[in-house]
Subunit: 331 residues, 2 copies
DNA sequence: CTGTTAGCGCGTTCAC
DNA sequence: GTGAACGCGCTAACAG
């Protein structure tokens, strides 16, 4: 039996005060005398009032909503970002509007439009490759924006992330230092993966080394594609001594194939991944990887928005969170 | 430079029509003559109008928002639920409001209150253990509700899930059929895990078999706790021949410990899990598990709400989605 | 098919 | 510390 909707006015009548007093009692209790406050709270309980943030948001132009746009949620790091952002936002009385867009830019464009129609107080975007139209809209509406999970010299507003090219550099240096020279690459065709492989190749080239062979699979590269990719790479170039993958999932597939061929990893073949896939099936998985703290990035992004909303405009607009190169399986 | 906000009235002026015509052109294009429609669309583009669903929702009492409340998002199955629900909702023009509550009921109570303040058109809840106050609120507001991931004889509204007791039964039968008799249990202290272990024990008891020893860890049981738990179980009862775990993650920890003791799994020790953790680190992980299709449950829940919102009230209110017992590692 | 009128429920701005 | 009037931007219901 849905009871008739209870409004703030009903509460006001029940408490014997004016509507605005109820509003204040709910939103800025310190501005209301304790006695009045108690009366209001009692009336709220008695009437079963639930506040209406549609009306509130419309009147105040503050929706207490923050949108988070992610390509997928089925990756541990992105799930961590959701968790990290949610924690911060909830603590500050905000709610999360989640958008999942996959890896196609045009989907983001549509989603951003839909999201903006809710008038969120802030938007967190993954990556910094957006259509012009998306950028326009965001700038026009004037909502604070954090681009995350990437670095860019021309941010829409704020940036909290790391450079995927630097990741590529670091991986190249790591492998070169260990003496590897004949490189294969296996990458998913998502833009950030591309930046990593780009950085990887550039860093190699500086040392006069070239990638022997590269293969690409559709994003987000799944494990079987990693294995199949490895089959092709190793069949065509049996003398490869290192394979650089755009994700741990792909790397995992490569590892399985390598082991089934009796290759010792990393002695015969080094494998590098990216992400933070849990390799706990192995006591000590013999592949190195680059790890990023998703929860931290999510929390920092949320915090950046909250600061801005508090009028605190002093912080850096561009923050490099860095990443961690994890070396495993070596002697 | 945030431009001044563009309202529907601005568009109406620009198009030379009345505001309501713009509204219709945007929401029910088929009710508007093509010529008018074109004029409006042109005006929308020219002005850069973005619709305001706060205002729209307030006026129409339809927010086009559906809330999904989950204990965590860092579990593959729950992430799949988000994905499944998002897909259906997006296709129908709805957006997802995500709430993550952990495993404490009082947190859900607060979150539900906050969520209802957005006046979502529907709410999807995980499980069916809610405080009275939560149930009251939901019933009072009259929002369509789907309780999922569980079965209950006294639903708030609709239910789409499976019986955790049946899962326990099925596991018990499976292990008994294979000849195992000396059972240990390792479970997280979340309510649904409790129902599974309960069902497991009852089914065993019917065959005159009792669980030798049970241990509990805080929800959501992590892998190290699985391993530590296994140490204690096996130290105290070296003659166990099967361990029933409340999750694959715990089971995985048990597996690692078993292997490090040189136990053959499942010949010397059977291990049962629950969930759909990807054990791809193993070519053929030797533990059986129960698998649930999260994406399907998410999509079905969303669809159930959408049907209701379309006035379609004919479907079953209680749907048992079932689960799949996956036997692995046996001869 | 399109326009008019009248709110939706609340917060802002001033007064008191 | 509390109240009154007004408007946020849009849509329901009817009229034409």
């Amino acid at each position: 039996m849905p009871a008739p909707p209870v409004t703030l006015i009903d509460v006001a009548k029940a408490a014997g005060v004016s509507p605005i007093t109820v509003s204040r009692a709910l939103n800025e209790p310190q501005l209301v005398r304790p006695v009045t406050l108690a009366k209001v709270q009692e009336a709220v309980k008695r009437t079963g009032y639930v506040k209406n943030m549609l009306a509130g948001g419309l009147a105040s132009s503050r929706s207490k909503l923050v949108a988070l746009v992610l390509p997928t949620i089925s990756t541990q790091t992105f799930a961590d970002m959701v968790q990290g952002a949610t924690d911060r936002l909830t603590a500050a009385g905000y709610q999360l509007l989640l958008g999942i867009v996959g890896y196609e830019t045009w989907r983001e464009e549509i989603l951003v439009e839909t999201i903006l129609s809710r008038r969120p107080d802030g938007v967190i975007l993954t990556g910094s490759l957006h259509t012009d139209s998306t950028r326009q809209r965001l700038l026009q509406i004037g909502t604070p924006v954090v681009e995350t999970w990437d670095m860019t010299p021309h941010p829409i507003d704020m940036v909290i992330g790391f450079s995927h090219e630097e990741v590529g550099h670091a991986c190249a240096k790591h492998l070169l230092d260990q003496g590897y020279r004949r490189f294969g690459m296996l990458t998913a065709n998502d833009p950030r993966a591309g930046q990593r492989t780009q950085g990887f190749q550039v860093a190699l080239a500086k040392q006069g080394v070239n990638v022997v062979v590269a293969r690409q699979v559709p994003a987000p590269g799944a494990l079987p594609q990693g294995r199949i990719g490895a089959v092709k790479l190793l069949d065509e170039h049996p003398d490869l001594d290192a394979i650089f993958c755009s994700s741990d999932t792909l790397a995992h597939g490569v590892l399985i194939e390598a082991q089934s061929r009796g290759l010792r990893v990393p002695e015969d073949l080094a494998i590098m991944g990216f992400g933070d896939l849990n390799f706990s099936g192995y006591t000590n998985p013999p592949l190195s990887t680059v790890k990023v703290d998703g929860a931290k990035i999510g929390a920092m992004s949320a915090q950046a928005l909250l600061n801005r909303l508090d009028g605190d405009d002093t912080a850096e607009r561009i923050v490099n969170t860095g990443f961690e190169l994890i070396q495993r399986g070596s002697t």
